[in-house]
């Protein structure tokens, strides 16, 4: 489904990585490892289609993602370092608007339900700026419950989360993989996925 062919990344004068090859099938999870500054985030941003690789190609279902454009974006949910939430909007407004921008218009009830699952039901109508780091992360991750896209690209999704929330995300990932979804993620924390094979990609 998702294929990387001879990918290379250059930042300034430095070559972060080159000749990265992988092929991820439906129901597979790929974990990207590497020390700080090895290009993990750069690779994920390439896979989303936010930036172009210096060399090589990325294919989705056999077609180069550059020629797919909007169709590819409809298949991807990306949660990056930045939470993608507005400080001045309430938790529920944030979820409704970010889902709508991703192409999933939802009712307030659906949004509350997702927030309840993420353990945020009491904070629904608070502005995001009063939340803690971990709670903001949960707001961002609540999108995974709504945006039913086949490919999830997650950059350090577990940062700042407590044990309960990590369990919750693990459950979500397993469920997504069982339904034939794909996940590409980076994490410094250990994560146990028992239901699907986990592919490891090491960046120098």
């Amino acid at each position: 489904m998702l294929q990387g062919i001879n990918l290379a990344c250059i930042r300034g004068d430095r070559e972060l990585f080159k000749n990265i090859n992988f092929s991820l099938e439906a129901g597979g999870l790929m974990q990207v490892h590497g020390p700080n500054g090895s290009g993990k985030t750069s690779l994920l941003r390439m896979l989303c289609g936010l930036s172009n690789p210096a060399a090589g190609e990325i294919h989705w279902c056999g077609t180069a993602i550059r020629s797919l454009d909007g169709d590819y974006f409809a298949a991807v949910t990306y949660i990056g370092h930045l939470s993608g939430t507005k400080d001045d909007l309430t938790v529920i407004e944030n979820l409704c608007i970010s889902s709508a921008l991703a192409g999933f218009e939802i009712s307030v009830d659906q949004a509350s339900e997702a927030l309840k699952y993420m353990g945020l039901s009491e904070r629904e109508s608070l502005p995001v700026k009063v939340l803690s780091q971990g709670q903001r992360r949960r707001v961002a991750l609540a999108r995974l419950l709504i945006c039913k896209t086949p490919l999830w690209i997650l950059d350090e999704p577990l940062v700042a989360l407590d044990v309960m929330a990590v369990k919750l995300i693990q459950g979500l990932l397993e469920q997504h993989l069982q339904q034939g979804g794909l996940v590409v993620m980076t994490t410094h924390q250990e994560i146990e996925i028992t239901t699907a094979p986990v592919m490891q990609l090491q960046l120098a």
Binding site: R11, G12, D13, R14, A55
Partner: protein, 248 residues
Amino acid sequence: MAINWFKYSSPASFYFLAGKMIPIFVFAAVILLIAGLYVGFFVAPTDFQQGEAYRIIFIHVPAAWMSMFLYVVMAFWAGIGLAFNTRLSSMFATAIAPTGAMFTFIALWTGALWGKPMWGTWWVWDARLTSELILLFLYIGFMSLQAAIDDPRRADKAGAIIALVGVVNIPIIYFSVQWWNTLHQGASVSINQAPSMATTMLMGMLIMVLASWMYSIAVILKRARVIILERESHTAWVAELRKKGAEQ
């Protein structure tokens, strides 16, 4: 791999080709400049209306033409670089900008020098002078934007977008300024009604235009070479060049 040839070896081969071409253009520029200035200052007759002061047109007019041509050429190369992701064309655009800005500045300066004896004032809000001033702003905008961006690829692309937006806007701006000028200008003198030019004057001017072209090409090639060296400093061929330089 075809793409790799484009991306990596093209600037290298261009670097050496340009090195061979620069002396030719420098030589041509010097010869033409001497010839043009001689025709302009000694052969061309004195103008019966404007006296000797008119002779500044041998610098003013070529500079004004070059300033406009070079902007279009710059936008063209920048656009090619954006569309086909060819790095050399983007480097070319970056190399052209300072020369274009310099000619714009010369055109403004000589325009002011010319204006003093003609109209008794250093600056008139004439349509051409005003457009030339705006052109200088556009050049400065392009250069400042590129200078502010650290990543060369982003600088190339961002510069290309602003250069193309500028090219689309130049006719609109020129037309607006022209219109604004006719509305506001009273009975003052206009450059538009220049008397028909003597053949020798025209000759001198054409030679000077050619000299400016040769000069621009030489300087732009030279600057492009420097940019290539800077950007390719991590490649093998530049390292080899550096080693050779150290041995000599």
